[in-house]
Structure formats: structure tokens, C-alpha cells
Amino acid sequence: MTFTYSHITRDGVQITILTDTNQRTSEVHSVLNADDTVNIPLSNKAAESLYYQYTTVQDQIDRISLIDSAQVKDTTYLNGSAARTDYAVDTTEGQVIVTKLNNEFSGEVPSYDDNSMNLVGEYTAQRPPYNVNNTISFYNFDALTDTIKTRFGATYQEYRKWYGLKFDTVTKEVLAKFVIPDGEMKRVDIDNYTKINDALPAVSYPFYARIHDESGDVNENVDVYFQADPDVMQTWCTNNSHVFPYDTTDTTIVPMLFIWGCVYNTTTEEITHVKAYTRTTA
């Protein structure tokens, strides 16, 4: 799809208008520089985000709504192929992992499966900060407790409704993944927030995850999640030498996509991995 852009002032408001080859349009309030001139790259990106929000991004939102959260099977694609699978705790596959958690990590939370939206997965990590040992991940949709916050030194003002615990099945080490809204990431680390946003293409509904160990140390690798048009992501990966997460010849993947993620290393200041997630039923 080819876009043309115009930047106008209407009723005293500076507006950026995107028009596609089918004459569909998106209008956003222009992003302004300090001197009130239009920041054209950021304004154009904002218009693109809005454009996709009601097309391919909406498809991904609908994917979340359509699947029964108690029967979820989420597949993570990384480095060109499926890397791991997470299951809702009430599924057959999920119950097998819940049993392992109860046997090996009992008492970490009051219950692993009291909320049917909870997700579990077992995998061998393929990226930092997780080491090469077999790991069980647990995503808890119960309210985050002060016990967990204190244990892992989390002092955020706002949290999303879920968080993760990562269990190393060999060392028994536990990491916590705290999921925070876009605005909270901006508040706690505006420098990296800005760099991540500058690095990303047009995306929608971003949020972040930061990994804490039991000393309260925050890992240098930060996750950002968002919805985005698959073609935009592919072009962006190509232009920035990122490995596209899935095999594009597999046409079954795009209809099942529901979210994307990137890993940003705050030390090297670069995006190290791009992830795509599909949602089906187990």
C-alpha cells in the first residue's frame, strides 16, 4: 500500500492526513516540534498507526476476543519459527505443566490454576535473560499481590492485569516479569521509552514488561508488546536487519496473529529479537 501525506491547519489545529491509493484516509493531530513546526516523521507514523488500527490491527484485537480464554493455545514465533507454546491452565496440556509447578514450585503463589485465564508454558529459553535451562513460565491473571511486588522489588505505580513468573527447573531460580502500561514505562524510564518508540514502526496499543530478579534488579532486556500490520513489520524487519519471527510462506499464521513483541537491550540500545504470537485453541 502506498500512502501520500499532507499537513494542513484546520481551525487553528495542525493536522496530518494520510491517503492511500484507494482514497481511504486517516487524520491525526500533527506531532509538533518545540518550535511548533510539524514533526513530519512522527506525524506520518501516527497517521499510519491510526490507519491500521481499524484494519489489520482490528483483526488482531478480534482474535483475542473470539478465542475462549480458558482454551487458549498461544504460539510464540521467534527467529523464523515456532519457539514455544503456552496453554491455558485448564487445558489438558496446561494441567500437565500445572502438575509440574505444584510438584517443583509449590507455594510460590496460592494457586496456579484458580483463574482459567492463567497461562503456562515449558520450553528451553532461546534468548537472554533466560538461561539455557529448561524453564516453566506462568502468567498469572489474578491480582498482583504485595508479596510478589516486595519479593521482586517492584514499585511501579501502575500495572497491567497480569504478570509472569519464570521458573528455572534446574537452578530453581525465579524471575518475575512485571507488565506495565505505556505511560508507566514512560514515567519510569523515559530515555529508553523514547528510544524504543523511535525504533519501532507504526504500532498500536503498546505496553511493556520488565524482568526483576529476587534481588530487585531489573534486567537490561525490556519487552515491548503491541499490535501491528504484518506487512509493516516485515518491511521494518528487512530495513533494520531484524530476523522476521515466522515463515512468511506459511499462510496459516497471519489470520491467527494477535500480538507482536520486541526485546530491547537497554545497554546496547538495540532491538535484539522480534516476536509474533498466534492464538488458537488447545
Binding site: R10, V28, L50, Y51, Y54, I61, I64, P181, Y205
Partner: protein, 199 residues
């Protein structure tokens, strides 16, 4: 918004000012954005007093039942055709020179409140015009009293898609938003009765 301009008879600039929400008897002129906005005119455009007859009157109003979905990744609140909530009168009698327009969504999804208007049949290209303000009357099924939330069209981002026009407001900047968290709802966190009105 104040009272609409009378449908007939003698009308004055003061009537227009009141309809636009101004104070009676105070200074104003025809080219002010809110006054010419009553009849969707651009700055400096030719205008005729007769065009203001009835301006500021409700373009469409309807009750909606807003549902709340406590989603795994996103919270949704409002009405979205085929997904959540219901609407009493979706069809707009006249909108952007068409009698075939209908409201398909008034929904807060992940902090963005969207008004989406589609067509009942045929095809149409929407543009960013046709109303001045979307008023939300929360917890009631009529437009009695003052709206709880007033959403000026000029504050919205706009998208024209295939047979759809979408206006989107950032909920964080709206009145009536009492929750400081990402999970917030203009219409609340349970099923509620509300009235929406385009003026």
C-alpha cells in the same frame, strides 16, 4: 452546546453564539470556529444566514446498553455491533447527505473511545464532518440535563475506511475519566444504560 438556532423566523448572530455554547450578548463573529462549525464551514468560506436555521440541534440521539468486557489483554466498554452491548436506534436519518448511515460502535477499547458510523446498504466515502460534538449522558436513557462527557469532533482523530467513518478520542484526555489506570471505562466496569447524542 446551548439551545439550537430556531428552525424558522428571525435569527441573529447571538442565536448562533448561544447554539455554539457562547454567552448571550458577548462579542463574537461569524467566522469563529465554533459558530461556523455549526454548519460545517471552513474559515473564510461564504455563508448565508439561512444555513443556520436549526443548527446546533441534535443530529442523532439514542440510548445504548454498554457492556464491559474484562479482557485478557484489553478491556472493552460500550457498544460494538455484533460484539458487545446494544443500541436502541442505530440508524441516522440524515448524515453527510445520506439516509443510509448507522452507528456501529461507540466503544472504549484500550483507552481509545471510537465512534464508528457505517452504512445500512450501498457504499459511501465518509469525511471528517457532519457533527460538532458527541455528547455522552452516563447512567441515563435520555438526554435530559447536561452531558457528562462532551467530545468535540475537532479533538478526534479521524479515519475513512471502506464504507466507514471512525472518530477516535484518547480517553486519558477526556472528562468523565475517573480511573488513573490503563483499565478504565467511560461507561463503567459493568453493564450500564447510557444515552449518546451527536450535535
Amino acid at each position: 452546546m446551548g439551545d439550537p438556532v430556531p428552525e424558522q423566523g428571525m435569527i441573529s448572530l447571538n442565536d448562533f453564539h448561544i447554539a455554539a455554547g457562547g454567552t448571550t450578548g458577548t462579542a463574537c463573529n461569524l467566522n469563529e470556529a465554533d459558530i461556523r462549525g455549526l454548519i460545517d464551514k471552513a474559515s473564510g468560506a461564504a455563508m448565508n444566514f439561512a444555513e443556520w436555521y436549526g443548527a446546533g440541534a441534535s443530529i442523532h440521539g439514542t440510548a445504548i446498553v454498554a457492556d464491559y468486557v474484562d479482557g485478557q489483554y484489553f478491556d472493552q466498554s460500550g457498544y460494538a455491533s455484533g460484539y458487545i452491548g446494544s443500541i436502541t436506534d442505530a440508524t441516522i436519518d440524515s448524515f453527510q447527505n445520506s439516509g443510509l448511515c448507522q452507528i456501529t460502535q461507540v466503544q472504549n477499547l484500550a483507552g481509545t473511545l471510537s465512534l464508528i458510523i457505517g452504512v445500512t446498504s450501498g457504499s459511501k466515502t465518509f469525511n471528517n464532518s457532519g457533527f460538532t460534538t458527541l455528547n455522552l449522558y452516563l447512567g441515563q436513557t435520555t438526554n435530559s440535563g447536561s452531558p457528562d462527557v462532551e467530545l468535540p469532533r475537532v479533538d478526534a482523530n479521524f479515519t475513512s475506511n471502506t464504507n466507514q467513518g471512525q472518530w477516535a478520542w484518547d480517553v486519558a484526555t477526556l472528562g468523565g475519566n475517573t480511573s488513573p489506570t490503563f483499565v478504565n471505562g467511560i461507561f463503567g466496569t459493568s453493564t450500564t444504560n447510557n444515552f449518546i447524542e451527536m450535535v
